[in-house]
């Protein structure tokens, strides 16, 4: 995964979070998922075209995703969807992300008021 063609260490875990979130909204195949990530992030986050598939396979092996080949537009595609364990993992990851983001934001903005405002959101 890349943002402006770099992959800083603090983005570890972000691809998994993003993939699970988007697939929890609707099932998608790989190309569709890569397009959705680019579109929903406003172009800030972009997967390498072939890089999404090892992640999808890894999540499927963990039982967090399920796949099947279905006809799409005259061809067949392997479509992925989130499983109940995947939804659970997504919820945990989101909570952890929000906690970390709030902590960092609090440090950047300084003071308890900013932290309380963000946590209330």
């Amino acid at each position: 995964m890349s943002t402006r063609r770099t992959n800083p260490d603090f983005l570890n875990g972000v691809p998994e979070l993003v993939v699970l979130e988007l697939l929890s909204r609707r099932a998608m195949y790989g190309y569709e998922l890569v397009q959705a990530i680019r579109e929903h992030s406003g172009g800030e986050l972009a997967f390498g075209e072939g890089a999404v598939y090892p992640l999808l396979h890894k999540l499927e092996e963990r039982g967090q995703l399920a796949s099947r080949r279905v006809p799409v537009g005259g061809r067949s595609r392997v479509v992925y969807r989130v499983t109940p364990p995947g939804k659970k993992r997504l919820a945990e990851t989101i909570a952890e992300w929000r906690r970390i983001a709030a902590s960092v934001q609090g440090i950047l903005q300084g003071g308890e008021h900013a932290l309380a405002r963000i946590l209330a959101d």
Binding site: Y31, E49, G50, A51, Y53, P54, H57, V78
Partner: protein
């Protein structure tokens, strides 16, 4: 008909993503599935570039996906990092085999040592009526059997299992070979003393606990220690076990690549 166009690059670099993944040791079914999905992805890329001609669209798609060898390298790397052993190969296949083998040898030796006392009580008594030559043969047979189990069979089995694990976790034959060499050298570092007595009225044999031979850092002394016939025999088992595993893996890869070639021939005939 399913498109196989993506599975081959231009004629200047005759390779396919599937073949590159298999050559990197990935399972054939995983390699085929990944290549299929990337073939679909490429078709979608081509379909989305509507404003250019077909050849240019294919070139753009190939550029965005990357050259098969580079793509295969990245996919194989991600595949290896799936498991803990794949993420920590040095710990798993260089450091861990040493204490693992020592613990296994100690456990086996303790069990066998515990069995020799009742065996001695039974056979020792029975051997009293044997001729000296028969007693000697019996003792040597027992000693060789114990030696073979502890110092040959156990490290060979360990080497076989660890080599298979290394291939499964890392898909790299080098780690299987490294683990087996570590086991072989560790096995050859363990020595034991055997003492037998054939005095009239007394028949006994004693095998001392295995001791690790730690040679001072002298290349010639170390080399001579490991070139002893017994040391070479102790090293042979683990290395042969690894060779068997690697040969089986080579056969698997060759079969998978041959199947890929048959698919290409079928596609050419259909076209």
């Amino acid at each position: 008909m399913r498109s196989l166009a993506f599975w081959r690059t231009d004629t200047n670099t005759p390779t396919t993503l599937y073949a590159e993944l298999v050559r990197r040791g990935l399972p054939a079914d995983y390699a085929r599935r990944t290549a299929d999905e990337l073939d679909d992805h490429r078709a979608d890329l081509i379909a989305d570039t509507r404003s250019v001609d077909a050849a240019e669209a294919q070139a753009i798609a190939d550029e965005r996906l990357g050259e098969p060898r580079q793509l295969a390298r990245k996919i194989a790397g991600d595949y290896r990092r799936r498991s803990w052993f794949g993420r920590w190969p040095v710990v798993s296949f260089v450091l861990a085999p040493v204490p693992l083998w020592i613990a296994a040898a100690a456990a086996i030796y303790a069990v066998l040592h515990g069995l020799t006392y009742p065996a001695h009580a039974v056979f020792g008594f029975a051997l009293e009526g044997w001729s000296p030559w028969n007693r000697l043969v019996g003792l040597v047979a027992c000693a060789v059997s114990l030696y073979a189990v502890v110092f040959a069979v156990v490290p060979s089995i360990l080497s076989y299992r660890i080599s298979k694990l290394a291939l499964q976790a890392t898909s790299q034959r080098s780690w299987a070979l490294v683990a087996s060499c570590v086991l072989a050298i560790t096995a050859a570092s363990l020595t034991y003393e055997m003492d037998c007595s054939l005095e009239p009225g007394e028949t006994s044999f004693v095998i001392s606990s295995p001791t690790v031979t730690i040679t001072r850092f002298d290349p010639w002394t170390t080399l001579s220690d490991y070139l002893r016939p017994i040391a070479l025999a102790q090293m042979a088992g683990p290395l042969l076990a690894c060779v068997l595993v690697l040969r089986s893996d080579s056969d698997r890869r060759r079969t998978a690549l041959d199947f890929d070639g048959q698919l290409d021939q079928a596609a050419s005939r259909a076209a």
